[in-house]
C-alpha cells in the first residue's frame, strides 16, 4: 500500500521536481568569472553571428528560410524604435502577453502552492489527488489548449487559463516535495514546543521548502509565458503570439525571428528576477541543509 504510494510519488518527483539548490549555486559561480569569461562570450557571439551572416550570403539561403542577422536586426529595431502606443511596435502586444501570463502565473502557481501544501499536510488529500496529478502531469498540457479556447473564448480568459494550467504543475509538485523534505529534528523542535500545525507549517516547513518553491516558480514563469503564446496562436486580438502569426502569414521570417528575440529576452529577464528574489529571500542558501 504505502509502497505503491511512494513509487507514484517517486515517479512524479523524478519527472518534475527540480533539484532546488545545487545547479543555481553552480550557475552563479560560473557566471561571476570576470574578464576572461566575458571575452569568451563575446567571441562566441561574434562567431555565431558572423557564421550566420556568411552562411546566408554565400550559401544563398533564401530570406524566407533564414533571414540574415542584419534583416532580423532591422525588423527588431522597427518594432522597438517607435512610440510605446504605436500599433506597429512590440510594446502593446508585449504588454498584453506579459499581463495575461502574469495573471495566469499568479493564479496557477498560487493554486499549485495551496494544493501542494494540502497534499503535503494530509495523507488523505495526497492519496485523493496524487493519481490525478500524476495522470495530468503525463499529459502534454498544451494539447488541452483548443479545449480551453472553447470554454473561455478568444479573449484574455483563455490566455490566463492556459498559463495558469501550465504554471500550476511545477508549483504543485515542487511545493509538495519541498514541504515533505523537512528535517525531522526541526519537526521535533516544534513538537517539543507544542506548536500548532499551522505554526509548524509557517515557521518551519514553508521556509524549508523555499528553495524548492523558487525552483518551481522558475519553471512556472517560463511555462506561463509559453501558455499565453500558445493560446494567442489559436486566436487573439493582440499579443506576441499574434505578432508571430501575422509575420508568418506574410512570410516575414525576419519579423518572426525578431519577435522570438523579444520573447527570449523576456524569458531571461523573468528568470533573472526569480533568481534575484530567491537570493534575497532564501539568504541562508544551502546552509540550511545538513
Amino acid at each position: 500500500m504505502s509502497e505503491a504510494k511512494t513509487s507514484v510519488l517517486a515517479n512524479v518527483t523524478a519527472i518534475e521536481a527540480a533539484a532546488p539548490k545545487a545547479p543555481a549555486v553552480a550557475g552563479r559561480k560560473r557566471r561571476g568569472k570576470g574578464a576572461g569569461g566575458t571575452v569568451i562570450m563575446v567571441l562566441g557571439l561574434l562567431i555565431l553571428f558572423g557564421g550566420w551572416a556568411l552562411a546566408v550570403k554565400y550559401l544563398e539561403i533564401p530570406s524566407y528560410i533564414l533571414p540574415s542577422p542584419v534583416a532580423v536586426w532591422h525588423a527588431l529595431w522597427s518594432g522597438i524604435a517607435v512610440s510605446p502606443s504605436s500599433p506597429l511596435g512590440y510594446y502593446l502586444p508585449l504588454w498584453g502577453t506579459l499581463k495575461n501570463a502574469a495573471i495566469g502565473l499568479a493564479i496557477g502557481s498560487g493554486l499549485g502552492l495551496v494544493l501542494g501544501s494540502l497534499m503535503a499536510e494530509s495523507r488523505v488529500i495526497e492519496k485523493l489527488l496524487m493519481p490525478y496529478a500524476f495522470a495530468l502531469q503525463s499529459l502534454p498540457k498544451v494539447a488541452i489548449a483548443p479545449l480551453v479556447v472553447i470554454w473561455f473564448g478568444f479573449g484574455d480568459g483563455s490566455k490566463v487559463a492556459i498559463s495558469a494550467l501550465l504554471a500550476f504543475f511545477p508549483m504543485l509538485i515542487n511545493s509538495f516535495t519541498g514541504l515533505r523534505a523537512v528535517e525531522p529534528e526541526r519537526i521535533d523542535l516544534m513538537r517539543s514546543l507544542s506548536a500548532s500545525r499551522f505554526e509548524t507549517y509557517r515557521i518551519v516547513k514553508l521556509p524549508n521548502a523555499a528553495p524548492y518553491i523558487f525552483a518551481g516558480l522558475d519553471m512556472a514563469v517560463v511555462y506561463a509565458l509559453l501558455g499565453t503564446i500558445v493560446a494567442e496562436f489559436l486566436g487573439a486580438q493582440q499579443g506576441m503570439g499574434v505578432v508571430i502569426t501575422q509575420a508568418q502569414a506574410v512570410t516575414d521570417v525576419a519579423g518572426v525571428f525578431a519577435a522570438l528575440v523579444i520573447l527570449g529576452a523576456m524569458g531571461i529577464l523573468l528568470h533573472g528576477i526569480v533568481r534575484g528574489l530567491e537570493a534575497r529571500i532564501v539568504h541562508w542558501g544551502d546552509r540550511g541543509r545538513k
Binding site: E185, R186, D188, L189, M190, R191, S192, L193, S194, A195, S196, E199, I203, V204, P207, A210, V282, H283, W284, R287, G288, K290
Partner: protein, 269 residues
C-alpha cells in the same frame, strides 16, 4: 491540554522526597516490533540535580530522553514529571538538540525567542531574551543568522532557546557532540555556570566519559540494547569544577575507570 488535566499523581511521596522525575519499569519497543529499545528502566532525578547518561551507541539513551520530552510514547511502566505522568511535550521541559538545530531563516534572537511565540496561550514565566543572550555571550550576535556563528555559539543559542520558557527541566541530547574538544571543554564550563545560576534539573546524554564526570552530580550508565540502567555513580567532586582541577581530583581516575569498564563490558567505546 486535556491529557494533563486527567493525569493523576502516581506517588504523592515522590514530591516530598524531592524527585522531580520518576521513572518506573519503563519499556519501549518500536512500532514494528523489531527493536527493543528500553527494558525496565528505573530512574529518579532530584529537583535541581544534574544527571548525565552514558551508554553504548544505540542503547536507547536518546529514546529515553525523547520519552521524557514527550516526543515518543512508551509501552508500559511510568514516567512522571513532578508527580504527573508524561503524556506529551510540556512547558516545564526544555530540549537541547544535537547540533543546535537552529532555524537558518531566523536570526539568533528570533531563534531564541521562538518558544515564546508558538504553542498557544500557555501561561507561564518567560525569561528575558536579551538577558539570556547576554549570559550566553551572544549579546552582539542577536541580529545575526545562525550560519554566521561558530558551532559553539550556535549551541549556546540552542541552550538559550531551551531556557527561554523558564522550564524546570532541561533535557540535552549530546549537545556538544559535534564540537571540537577545546570548544567542548569551554562549553562544559559555560553550561556549569549557567546551571549553577539557574539550578534547573538537567538530564544530559553524552558519549564522553570526561564530559559526564565534569558536569554530573550523578552519572547513569546504561547497557547495550535493550537499554537498562546498570549503574548509578555519584560524583563527589565539589563545584565549581574546572577542566584542570577535575582530572587532578582524587576521585576522578577511579570514576572514569569504573565507567569505562562498564562501557567496555558492553562492547562499545
Amino acid at each position: 491540554m486535556a491529557a494533563f488535566a486527567q493525569a493523576q499523581p502516581i506517588d504523592p511521596a515522590a514530591a516530598a522526597l524531592g524527585d522531580l522525575i520518576r521513572i518506573r519499569g519503563l519499556e519501549k519497543t518500536y512500532a514494528d516490533g523489531s527493536v527493543h529499545a528500553l527494558s525496565n528502566i528505573n530512574l529518579d532525578i532530584r529537583d535541581g540535580e544534574f544527571v548525565c547518561v552514558v551508554g553504548p551507541s544505540g542503547c536507547g539513551k536518546s529514546t529515553l530522553l525523547r520519552i521524557l520530552a514527550g516526543l515518543d510514547d512508551y509501552d508500559t511502566g511510568t514516567a512522571a514529571l513532578d508527580g504527573k505522568a508524561i503524556t506529551g511535550p510540556s512547558r516545564d521541559v526544555g530540549v537541547v538538540f544535537q547540533a543546535a538545530n537552529l532555524l537558518p531563516w531566523l536570526t539568533v534572537r528570533e531563534n531564541v525567542a521562538l518558544p515564546l511565540r508558538v504553542g498557544g496561550k500557555q501561561v507561564g514565566q518567560a525569561e528575558d531574551v536579551d538577558r539570556l543572550l547576554d549570559v550566553a555571550g551572544l549579546k552582539d550576535f542577536g541580529h545575526r543568522f545562525p550560519y554566521e556563528l561558530s558551532g559553539g555559539m550556535q549551541q549556546r543559542a540552542g541552550i538559550c532557546r531551551a531556557l527561554v520558557r523558564s522550564p524546570r527541566v532541561l533535557l540535552m541530547d549530546e549537545p556538544f557532540g559535534a564540537l571540537d574538544a577545546l570548544t567542548r571543554e569551554r562549553m562544559n564550563l559555560e553550561l556549569q555556570r549557567i546551571w549553577q545560576a539557574s539550578r534547573k534539573t538537567v538530564m544530559l546524554i553524552t558519549h564522553s566519559i570526561s564530559e559526564a564526570i565534569f558536569l554530573a552530580d550523578r552519572v547513569v550508565v546504561m547497557s547495550a540494547r535493550p537499554g537498562r540502567v546498570i549503574r548509578e555513580l555519584e560524583v563527589p567532586i565539589p563545584r565549581p569544577r574546572s577542566n584542570d582541577g577535575i582530572i587532578s581530583h582524587p576521585a576522578y581516575p577511579a570514576l572514569a575507570k569504573e565507567i569505562r569498564g562498564l562501557l567496555n563490558a558492553q562492547g562499545d567505546e
